[in-house]
């Protein structure tokens, strides 16, 4: 898979604030990378730097083989960017605006029409061609913002909180659109909504205080799971540990356990059968996914993980 973004060791200072601290981001074709982080973590700064609207204080950004600082025009040709506030000229109609966006991206005149229609159709803006952008609702303005970012079919699409302000149905549609776009492009999106990341992203990176504190494939995350088990007549702990597929058992309280093991979710039925055969009186057996929310809290609570790492730095 071709490498689309290779950003290494990015730093960004605002006066005395070190907003982005030694952040590296990679993106391959077909990737949908979710950037997570609490408010003020440096997500937007990071995306602005990747889109070329903000110069990094230090670091290097390569977009599709072109250095964003050395060859800005070649690199920017491959970027579609939706800032946190869609950059719309409200006095223009949707068509006029999209045509202008296409011309700015140096699309030949002959292709503008077809690309514009395609972008509109993808974003569900078909009937709004001649409407003034200022008269559209917030959700539709957001769609125009997305259409603007994809009209020139860039290799890299950077979306800063793309579903903010949308109603649940529109959110679903935009997520579907992002998944579809992700097949041919590389997408980076930032969001506060954790289930959104779970729904659309195949990679996740958590940023906290300007640093990358977690970076993993979603598949990896899914594998990391446990089984929660509640028994009315619990046996000795040893008996549970002796089950083949179980590697370790954590006792939360008597009769309430978390079972660890490789691919343990595949073995749920065997374990429940064992419980029945031995008369342990099963009252609950449920998959316990290591959820993003847990991870997010763990990495951004400021106590675990990062705090230790940060302490080493100073």
């Amino acid at each position: 898979m071709p490498q689309l973004i290779n950003a290494s060791n990015l730093h960004r200072y605002y006066a005395d604030t070190h907003a982005v601290n030694d952040l590296s981001i990679d993106l391959q074709q077909g990737d949908i990378l979710g950037l997570l982080g609490p408010n003020g973590a440096g997500k937007s700064s990071c995306m602005q730097m990747l889109s070329g609207t903000l110069a990094p204080s230090a670091g290097e950004i390569i977009i599709n083989g072109f250095d964003l600082l050395e060859q800005p025009n070649e690199a920017r040709r491959h970027i579609g960017y939706l800032p946190d506030k869609p950059p719309l000229y409200e006095e223009l109609t949707v068509d006029e605006y999209l045509d202008y966006a296409a011309r700015l991206r140096r699309i030949p005149k002959s292709e503008i029409h077809s690309l514009r229609e395609q972008a509109k159709q993808r974003c569900g803006l078909g009937e709004f061609s001649r409407r003034l952008i200022s008269n559209l609702s917030k959700g539709y303005q957001q769609r125009v913002g997305i259409a603007q970012a994809i009209i020139h079919q860039p290799k890299v699409i950077i979306l800063d909180e793309p579903t903010v302000g949308l109603d649940p149905i529109q959110m679903q549609e935009i997520r579907k659109l992002i998944c579809e776009l992700g097949k041919q492009h590389g997408i980076i999106l930032s969001t506060h909504i954790l289930p959104e990341v779970q729904a659309v992203c195949n990679r996740v990176q958590i940023i906290y205080q300007g640093k990358s504190v977690f970076n993993s494939d979603m598949d990896q995350l899914q594998k990391n799971s446990q089984i929660r088990l509640r028994l009315k007549h619990p046996p000795e702990l040893q008996n549970l540990q002796n089950i083949d597929s179980v590697s370790s058992v954590t006792e939360i309280e008597p009769g309430h356990y978390l079972l660890d093991g490789e691919d343990i979710l595949q073995h749920t039925s065997e374990i429940s059968q064992l419980c029945v055969e031995n008369g342990w009186q099963l009252s609950e057996i449920s998959p316990q996914r290591n959820t993003l929310e847990q991870l997010f809290m763990q990495f951004t609570s400021g106590e675990q993980g990062l705090a230790e790492g940060a302490a080493d730095d100073f």
Binding site: G52, L54, R76, I79, Y89, L92, R103, L104, R105
Partner: protein, 250 residues
Amino acid sequence: MIFNIALRELRSLFYSPLAWIILAIVQILLSWKFLSNIDIFFSLQAELIKIRNAPGVTDLVVAPLLDFLKLLLLIVTPLITMRLLSEERQSGTLKLLLSSPVSMSQIILGKYLGALIFFLIIILLCSLMPLSLSFATSLDYGKLASGLLGVFLNVLAFVALGLYMSSLTRQPGIAAISTYGLLILFWIINIAGNSGGEDSNFFNYLSITHHSIQMLRGIVNTADVAYFILFSLGFILLSIRQLDAQRLQQ
């Protein structure tokens, strides 16, 4: 690319009522001034016949009209230039330009050209009035052309200064008032020069008025033309630098 940006600028301008209202008001004021100039010319005509080498209709009607146009443009320019960059920054649309494969100089020149075309329309409409006189009398076209060139050079300078002021701030109001301040300063700076002290030449050189007054009399001096071109070029370069620097500071 410059032309695309200029075209968008013009389009947005004419979609807002501001441009039309400015065009209308400038036109009304100019025609009033034009009519009163003609009135004055008629009342003086009897006297003029007695003088040898008397000033003609171009000197008595057209020159004051163009002088008045310059004053009106001084008032109008900041209203148009104030939003060029500050509004784009405030509404976030600048990010669209910055993330596109467009260089800083293309953005600035596009904006400059867009505003310039608007003022060319005003100058063009204004020049129709003196030209209408050519049905009734003979005009000194040389003087008219040099006068119009003077107005045009003034506009080049005004817009460049306004554009730079607009690149400095997010607030269009602040951009407008600082443009007014500097333009009026350059307008009156030679008042100090006229007192005849040692610095007078220096202040005279800086003054916009000093450099444009001759052109109304039909004298095109390369030093005057150079002044306006340097003035405009200087502020355009400053705007490009400013836009570039903003990506670093913010």
